[in-house]
Symmetry: C5
Subunit: 355 residues, 5 copies
Amino acid sequence: MARLTKKRSKKAGLPPGTLVHIGERTTGQVKITIMDYDEKSFLEREADTVEACFAFKDKPTVTWINVEGIHNVEILAKLCDCFGLHPLVQEDILNSDQRPKMEDYGSYLYIVLKMLSFNEKNNELVTEQISLILGPNFVISFQEGIEGDVFNQIRDRIRNDKGRIRKMGVDYLAYSLIDSIVDSYFAILEKTGESIELLEEKLITNPAPEILHTIHNLKRDMIFLRKSVWPLRELISGLQRGESALIRPDTQLYLRDVYDHTIQVMDTIETFRDMLSGMLDIYLSSISNRMNAVMKVLTIIATIFMPLTFMAGVYGMNFKYMPELEWRFGYPVVLLIMFAIGILMLIFFKRKKWL
Amino acid sequence: MARLTKKRSKKAGLPPGTLVHIGERTTGQVKITIMDYDEKSFLEREADTVEACFAFKDKPTVTWINVEGIHNVEILAKLCDCFGLHPLVQEDILNSDQRPKMEDYGSYLYIVLKMLSFNEKNNELVTEQISLILGPNFVISFQEGIEGDVFNQIRDRIRNDKGRIRKMGVDYLAYSLIDSIVDSYFAILEKTGESIELLEEKLITNPAPEILHTIHNLKRDMIFLRKSVWPLRELISGLQRGESALIRPDTQLYLRDVYDHTIQVMDTIETFRDMLSGMLDIYLSSISNRMNAVMKVLTIIATIFMPLTFMAGVYGMNFKYMPELEWRFGYPVVLLIMFAIGILMLIFFKRKKWL
Amino acid sequence: MARLTKKRSKKAGLPPGTLVHIGERTTGQVKITIMDYDEKSFLEREADTVEACFAFKDKPTVTWINVEGIHNVEILAKLCDCFGLHPLVQEDILNSDQRPKMEDYGSYLYIVLKMLSFNEKNNELVTEQISLILGPNFVISFQEGIEGDVFNQIRDRIRNDKGRIRKMGVDYLAYSLIDSIVDSYFAILEKTGESIELLEEKLITNPAPEILHTIHNLKRDMIFLRKSVWPLRELISGLQRGESALIRPDTQLYLRDVYDHTIQVMDTIETFRDMLSGMLDIYLSSISNRMNAVMKVLTIIATIFMPLTFMAGVYGMNFKYMPELEWRFGYPVVLLIMFAIGILMLIFFKRKKWL
Amino acid sequence: MARLTKKRSKKAGLPPGTLVHIGERTTGQVKITIMDYDEKSFLEREADTVEACFAFKDKPTVTWINVEGIHNVEILAKLCDCFGLHPLVQEDILNSDQRPKMEDYGSYLYIVLKMLSFNEKNNELVTEQISLILGPNFVISFQEGIEGDVFNQIRDRIRNDKGRIRKMGVDYLAYSLIDSIVDSYFAILEKTGESIELLEEKLITNPAPEILHTIHNLKRDMIFLRKSVWPLRELISGLQRGESALIRPDTQLYLRDVYDHTIQVMDTIETFRDMLSGMLDIYLSSISNRMNAVMKVLTIIATIFMPLTFMAGVYGMNFKYMPELEWRFGYPVVLLIMFAIGILMLIFFKRKKWL
Amino acid sequence: MARLTKKRSKKAGLPPGTLVHIGERTTGQVKITIMDYDEKSFLEREADTVEACFAFKDKPTVTWINVEGIHNVEILAKLCDCFGLHPLVQEDILNSDQRPKMEDYGSYLYIVLKMLSFNEKNNELVTEQISLILGPNFVISFQEGIEGDVFNQIRDRIRNDKGRIRKMGVDYLAYSLIDSIVDSYFAILEKTGESIELLEEKLITNPAPEILHTIHNLKRDMIFLRKSVWPLRELISGLQRGESALIRPDTQLYLRDVYDHTIQVMDTIETFRDMLSGMLDIYLSSISNRMNAVMKVLTIIATIFMPLTFMAGVYGMNFKYMPELEWRFGYPVVLLIMFAIGILMLIFFKRKKWL
């Protein structure tokens, strides 16, 4: 299960723009990698110091600076200052408890995204915040660096000049990064879809109480996924409408495609939520049905044996003058009557469809 | 039950525009049929090779190329390239997990639709994706080719010059295809409506646990139908508003008609969902009611026989000095008292309206 | 209960504009009545043949042609062709499974409405489709002719020159027809309101299982009513905004009034739905409450008599050496103890507020 | 409980503009009071005949005519005709089953409002319709005259020249009347708020079945209040936007204030609805919890005494050869074993946390 | 638990603009503190009399007047009159039952906010209303003064010239105050988030009835928080759109940041509400599950011992001629049969998966 809230409170009351890191990971080294390319040239380098990035600021080629780990406030401040980022942007990059959003600062766009992945070990949904800065000829991406990286396939494409990426500009690179994040949502939805189908089968064959917690956890995951995807819609729609000059018209077509995917993710989440609700109803009804079955067994047993036990009790009384007790066939007659009562009761329950 | 998600994940991370087929059917031959007509001439041909279609690209007559089977990436790429389709369109045609949508690429419109049909054998709702390309003088339709074909009646109309179709342009052909798909939704709704009426009757006469699963399955179908129809509304409304020059004004009237049908489908789906929810409530209440009835039987039996059995137990005790036991009419008096208690209990329950 | 869906499927795949009648009533004669009037003159006539109407097409006076029965395709086609109606309109008139809508065809407006009435015999809500054609100087109304007619009072007003109707134009006549249909909704709402109040009383005094089905049926009626009224809002709002030259400004004031009524009908439907949901909750709680009461009775009886029966059982054992059995006052002492246990149990339950 | 619907049906089919009174109160005299004032002069008079009002029509001072009782159609028609009110307005004034609305007739505004008050005697919410006509220099207010009057404080203010009212125009008077009606909603909300707090306490200490009906009644009241307030929002927003020249700009500030109050009323109603739903859930859970407790008692008793009674029964059998019966310490040993079984059972239930 | 409504009713009917204090705290002294600063100078003073503030009205430096305690009507009236506030504003400041809102009076903005804090003692959510007046060079803030103060950190920043605050204008000060209030919401959400996580754990391990009330209280808190935050969104969005000249463009960036935070608070509230609803469902299902378990125990016990007790009863009958009683091995055979029945029953329940 994902953490519900992050410790944002430690920031309460500080002046806006104060750089404080809010997030899970707090140790380890910050890793900065630089990729610089155009249609012909290509350069990849791991930056030892943050200053190594500064040279790329005004290069006309496409530069992608990827920062893994956002807990070192000092390094980030240097990088951001060099690229002229507003203090509020710097603050937001550090705070990993952001809502997906896109902000247009004129000379650059600031985009916040959420990457989601399943931690197979403890069956948890892990959230990682990705901040993108899209400048005129550079993209800076900030990752928290908790889990693995979904950008590797994009790196491969750049390195090996696969697809269109080397021929297109910096906005296409930003689109590719966003697209790979949206694609990762489909993976989670597929996993969830499989879980739901499995659950539905179980629900029919053997509705055990564990199902309840599985449904609850899936519902919870859907709530979290929805929280990440819902604002994405608006974000990408904003990018696609082409209000910023940083997005070229031919990239807008691609953004429309991601937008469609986002809508589809939302649709699927809603469908899953509807189905999970439906399954909960079915589960509750199953419990009631089984309770009913249990009650019927009890009632049948009690209804048959209580009158019989009473009869046996009557003839166990010690009255002096009980003529039946003296009769020669008293005992077998009473046994027969008891048997008849039992049979009649069974017929009665058969008629009531309890058997 | 329809599959929840398709294996889209195998595409994650590939460059956009990469042609990968995502869908159910993966074998068999691709079948391409060509119909070319105007008010006077008519030609129908099955294309052996994809190249046979190329000649029709610039013919002024109306050309309808229908492709059944989208799993052969190579053939599709050739066809699309000849007709100048954008790589993203080619990618979307192959991916059968699209949301219904309409995209205007200037010189042609790209329309994605979902055809739904009931597989009578296993009572499943089968989805098939239909992609339409509406160009200035051609319509290309791509079907997955899983189930039968709803376009046969349109072919008949063209062959036999029935209705207006031969007199109208290529946009009217596209409208006819869309209309026949929307019509197929009504068939499903009718079937569902009948199921619901049947269920309602059962609910009153004999609310068995199977009803629960039938309700659940119908709800599920409605969720899926809704997912297919909801975006259709926007799609057709977009076509009808006449933003594209490819749609002539006199066809817009017909599109308004399909739009009305779509709204009606949505309305009916919502009504069915409301009714299914209502039926679930009724079913749950019925269970509770029957549980109540069972409990009452148990309580009545216990309340009558427990005191009586106790009395019998008392006179079954072996105390030496129990004066009642010696009395001449002890036994019949006790029997009478027991009888009276039983009657009183029954009257009590009658008063409480438990009987 | 109203039928859920009509057999629209028999039309699937036919060319648009094909005239096929979809509806309940399929036999009997079509009855055409003509009323022609202005402030001074008045003429009423029953048309034997459809051709009798043609003369009224271009008369400057207000002409109202009312057609009862829409199953005779031929007659309708003749009438529609004479008045120049679009094939799609003709198709829609025949199809009694339309959604309320208004379509502006320039020289005339096509309006579809739903008339609802209670069939007292089987407590069913009966729907009848009314199509109106509002031309420059004529109104043609098409009724299915299943149930009675709500237009009689309008006919009276025209005949006897009551109110404003003879002084106003053809748009006022159309308004009057719409108004009388909306008024008929109020009648249904009043009936429903009375049923709900009756139910509420029953719910408190004697919540029997039949209530469940009554609630369900009322909910169902509200769903249907809502389906008919919701699109009406848009329809009348469209008329009232005065986009069509056929609606004169002074009639718009009256349409605003009908619009207000429609909103009020919607409001009331929503209120009723809310109340019915609330009543279902109350009903379910009542069942639970009564189950609780039943369980308490059972538990009290069992808790009192089980220990007592056990005691009696103990002294009914046949051990040779049971000193109590020999005691002079063994029997009365045991009886006293049993009595005391019973009293203590009752006090215990009193304390627990179960009694 | 408020009446659900009024007998609107008696109007069905009559020509629009026909004056028919629809409402509760049908007897008693109509009382007309006139207040005429400006900053310096002030005049108050009760009108014996409706003609007494006519003189005030064109006086430049602010005139407020208050009509209590709307069942006398004749008097109303005279008054309305004198002040030039449209027949539809006259009709609406008489029909006390209107939805709150504002209609701009150019030279005057017609405003319908609902006054709500608690009838303490039978704990009912009483609705009374108030119609306001705001002309260039007069306000006419029509009350049904069922309950008391919320306008007394405004009369006092005018008489004693308190606040701004004598210095401001006729629109400020209309605002004051609306404001006093909205204020009356707060009183109802406060009363409801207190009821809810009381209920919440009861819910924790002693969840009796009566709570159910109290919740139901409060929910019902909120549904009614909502129905009255929701359209008010739109109404006041319309007035405040200053579309009518009858509302002066400095009065708009005050209308913004009433608008805020209306929003607040809506907010509070929604909050109350949410809370009442929550309480219903809690109540239902409490019932289940108590049922659980009852069942546990029953199960504990049965589980302890059933095996013991069986044991006693065994030694009450009359077999000739039962060696235990002859043993010297058979009886006390069996008693000890029974005691041990009882204790073991209790430990078992303790472990299961049922005790 | 927060109070549901405040005693607004004591104001009903008074002329608008009448100054009446509506709130909790009614005693104690009003405390007025003044801070006056620009980039270079700084002055802090506690005002003994309200007149001490008047001098700051037209000073070009930024002046912040903070008023703690709003129950002294006289003092407030003097202050407001000096700074030229509209009577309606004065009225609203006194009424602590306002909805968050922003009103533009041209020369100043009037902003109402709600500060929320947890009272740890009785676990209650405490609401305090904050009114802000943003003039051209002054901010006046009115607090109710019930709980502590969230503005201390801002005072520190001004005193010690931390961050940007001394360099920025009066609008930045207003932004800082709003920001610190929104930050306080995050603290409450964190606390709630922790409570929810704790609850989820308990729900799985030991679903006791207290959980119900905790869920109810958390739900209630979320309803209240939502009521405070929802209008805030609109408020800040209004400020940020820059419609007022009092907000400089560079402050708008900061307001966009607060706006994002508000959206995030709303998102989290909705998520929490969804989760709490889900938990209630789980809790209810758990109760049903446990009831089921209890019923099974009862049924197993009854089903095993009722037939056995009956058998024992039969052989306890006192008939003269009961051949079995005379048999040498009657007793052990019967015991064996009883044992066998018991074992068979257990196997039966094992098969039914009740054990």
